[in-house]
Subunit: 505 residues, 2 copies
């Protein structure tokens, strides 16, 4: 009630609804030209007390160090701390927080593991960071149905640790031990997507708190069917919405049987084109590949140094096969043939779990290996994705661009890619605070994104638009599609309090 | 311009926007309690001429027989003809049609192959049926990228015929030779979904004409990436929206390699429970099944009679395995073990294409076989989907319900199911015009849907809400989710001209 009483003395909520300016005849499309506000309310002591009333004193912090931890992710995006960090313990508290923020026009930024790469958690407009990590219970595990429902703060490894004794796993693997709510928010994917799909294909239902505090279950409460044609697909409207349409509080996910047999192999190639050509050909054979990862010579060198390996310093493929023991052997034989035909080296095999883990840990640590190339630097990761037939061309052109533009002064720009999906990253360590270097990298990223768009691709395969790619979204989607997205945003979040300044400029 | 000039003399567009009644302070949620209007404009001669101007005289018909063909699908839903049928030949014409309908408040019902099973094309409020079958070009086939872009009127078999020489196929197979625009609209699936997913997982991009004539490409024009995190997933907002948010004019689809080897098998079981238990166990083994179809004894009997087969008249599974020759053998051996352990008969094998086609044709003809059980009847198909562990229970309960309620007077209620997804259908032939029989079937369907909802299921796995399940949608999704869906509908189609009376009551 306190917030209601304050209505008359707080001036910030006079948001003009443009629709009132239109004549009231035929109901036509009335695009709102919507965007985040220039300014929102600051959180004063009175408001802080209200948040404390909702989640308890222990679950609120305004300490600078805590706010700073929540104002950045693993990328180069400049830390912008929220005014307050809160840790709700249940959906009802999240709902009350949203209502308070909506009534008082306070930005609300959902926070999971902070492992994003596009500045999605940066508090550009101040406000409250809502950390869901205390909502970390596995609520409903149904091994017979291959599904599980978890609170948004449960992490990927926590889940896999929980379900492994039932012979099941959740394969979406962005590398970092991200929260599943965060992974749903950014439509994460990673190395296994070529076989198992991304979060889009693996989220069956979401519980979401909307900006006004209402709670919805996108497929209906408790529903967990493999398919449905009942009404609009709200689940996939919220997957990938990056906290701008609501806060995800619960996620229902598909699980898969741990394959009977797994084998991984590494092959070195004389040049980028032959490696990527091999990938395209392997996919065309219809092999049910579990992973196909490309690492260029710069990346392999960094991995060798960081993880104590000794792979030849040339463009390289890491592959993984899954299935029955015979099927794995058969797949590997076909892949080996293709690789040989494209000039790749004989496979180096890793069939034991320990060896395989070493190999994939090196791959997962690529990001940290690259950051170690320039100690003290922060990473920029590009994220384009193109139709696979265009991969050789775009990677070759991009490496030429890297060489010509001499970004980061030393050509320290490794390329690593989930090439089975047509998705690859340039990992670029840059000096914090060096605006000139940042601008060079931004220009390079824009050129790369436009190169991908010209090939039917996207500027972001899995990291999201976040705080860095808003300028590309209109070019990628077009003005009408963008206008529809913004109108949906305004419909669900009329005060634009949900993670303002992200996705849209 | 003609339609603009008429504005002042046509009274029907005075739609009160409830938002104008609210105080203009904080922008709060303003649910519109939206629904289809009670009455829309009728199409007079002047309007007919306007449609003729858009698509040409040859592409407009008001002949009763044509309108009746477009006012019904393959189900029992009573034919309700539109006032006019038009055949646009390109997206620009569709856009002009939409603009005219929106300006004049004329219902617009998209029409593809008319093979739906939930009355989605019935013109409940009159209006214009927009038949997309003249938009049937395959526009952009990229065999190297495993994707194709087609106009909405291209049919499933037309597409597969086109791509097969490249060793590719599009696996989503609802049985009928449906248009791909229609399949996207209803989020169709069918027998292959257990392996390849539904339209939700296989549509990469859509071109959609919105109610006001604007044209969007849901993932951006020309984009065809395997994954993207760029902005909201508009593609899956339109997939399954049943023509209520816009008309799909172009579809970009994933394709797959035709498997090296395929084998199909049939096994008979002593009872329903043992057959369905075998399915659950086969899935738990992690076999990458291509198809697992269940047919109860009533269905097998009908198929035997209709397709000249002689399978034992007991609950039966049709299975299909795909992969390399060895992998198929291996999968089949594992499945055979499980089947034997659950009391199933030794597999009857069909490895040659001709034999397999005979088997699957019999399965696909199940619907027609059932209709032949009562000549002159129309079919009702239920469509619930539940978590697979609940399948034995719900099928056994439903068979008991069929027996107890003695629907259609003769227990002619076969059950057939895509049991690998937890989805099954009761096919019920009913006498047209027999209201008593229809009511008995409606009551049965409601009981079945609620039984599924109580088990975490959905009232429709693949047919859509259409004209028959609107009453179940609120129970399935809940009031808040439903309100969000309706608000999205009102946002994109403020005059509710797009396929009014479907999905929502």
């Amino acid at each position: 009630m306190a917030s209601f009483l304050r209505t008359s003395i707080r001036p910030f909520r006079q948001v003009l609804d443009r629709r009132f300016l239109l004549p009231c005849c035929s109901v036509r499309w009335k695009s709102t030209v919507a965007q985040a506000k220039d300014s929102y309310s600051e959180i004063n002591d009175e408001l802080k007390r209200e948040f404390q009333e909702i989640v308890g004193e222990k679950n609120v912090s305004s300490a600078l160090v805590v706010r700073e931890q929540h104002g950045k992710d693993e990328s180069h995006h400049t830390c912008q701390p929220a005014d307050l960090v809160v840790w709700p313990e249940n959906k009802e508290q999240v709902s009350q927080i949203a209502k308070l923020c909506n009534d008082q026009c306070i930005p609300l930024i959902p926070f999971g593991s902070g492992t994003g790469l596009e500045g999605g958690v940066v508090a550009k407009k101040g406000g409250v960071s809502v950390d869901v990590t205390k909502m970390n219970e596995i609520l409903d595990f149904n091994p017979d149905d291959f599904d599980v429902t978890v609170q948004a703060g449960v992490s990927r490894l926590q889940l896999n640790n929980y379900v492994k004794d039932s012979g099941l796993w959740f394969p979406v693997d962005p590398g970092a031990d991200a929260s599943l709510g965060g992974m749903a928010s950014t439509s994460a994917s990673g190395t296994n997507a070529v076989r198992y799909g991304t979060m889009r294909e693996n989220v069956m239902n979401l519980e979401v708190v909307l900006a006004d505090g209402r709670i919805i279950n996108t497929a209906g409460e408790g529903r967990r069917t493999r398919k449905t044609s009942a009404g609009y697909n709200l689940t996939n409207l919220f997957v990938g919405s990056e906290g701008t349409l609501g806060i995800i509080t619960k996620v229902t996910l598909k699980l898969y049987g741990i394959p009977e047999s797994t084998a991984s192999g590494v092959s070195s190639f004389p040049d980028v084109k032959s490696a990527v050509d091999a990938v395209v050909e392997i996919l065309q054979c219809g092999l049910p590949m579990a992973r196909i990862e490309f690492l260029d010579e710069v990346q392999i060198d960094a991995c060798n140094k960081f993880s104590g390996l000794n792979y030849p310093v040339t463009p390289t493929l890491f592959l993984e096969f899954q299935g029955s023991e015979n099927s794995v052997k058969e797949q590997a034989a076909v892949a080996a043939d293709v690789i040989e035909g494209n000039g790749g080296s004989k496979f180096q095999w890793a069939t034991e779990l320990e060896e395989r883990n070493k190999l994939w840990k090196a791959r997962h640590n690529a990001w940290y290996a690259d950051m170690a190339l320039r100690p003290g630097c922060k990473g920029v990761s590009t994220d384009v994705c193109v139709p696979i037939s265009r991969l050789p061309e775009i990677i070759v052109e991009t490496k030429a661009d890297i060489a010509a533009s001499n970004i980061t002064g030393k050509c320290l720009t490794p390329i690593v890619g989930h090439v089975g999906d047509g998705n690859f990253h340039c990992f670029i360590p840059i000096k914090p605070g060096d605006e000139g270097e940042l601008q060079t990298v931004r220009d390079f990223t824009m050129r790369l994104s436009r190169r991908a768009l010209a090939m039917g691709g996207t500027c972001t395969g899995e990291h999201g638009i976040g705080n860095g790619k808003q300028a590309m979204l209109p070019e990628e989607i077009g003005p009408t599609g963008l206008s529809v997205m913004k109108d949906i945003k305004s419909l669900l979040d009329p005060n634009w309090i949900m993670n303002p300044g992200k996705v849209f400029l």
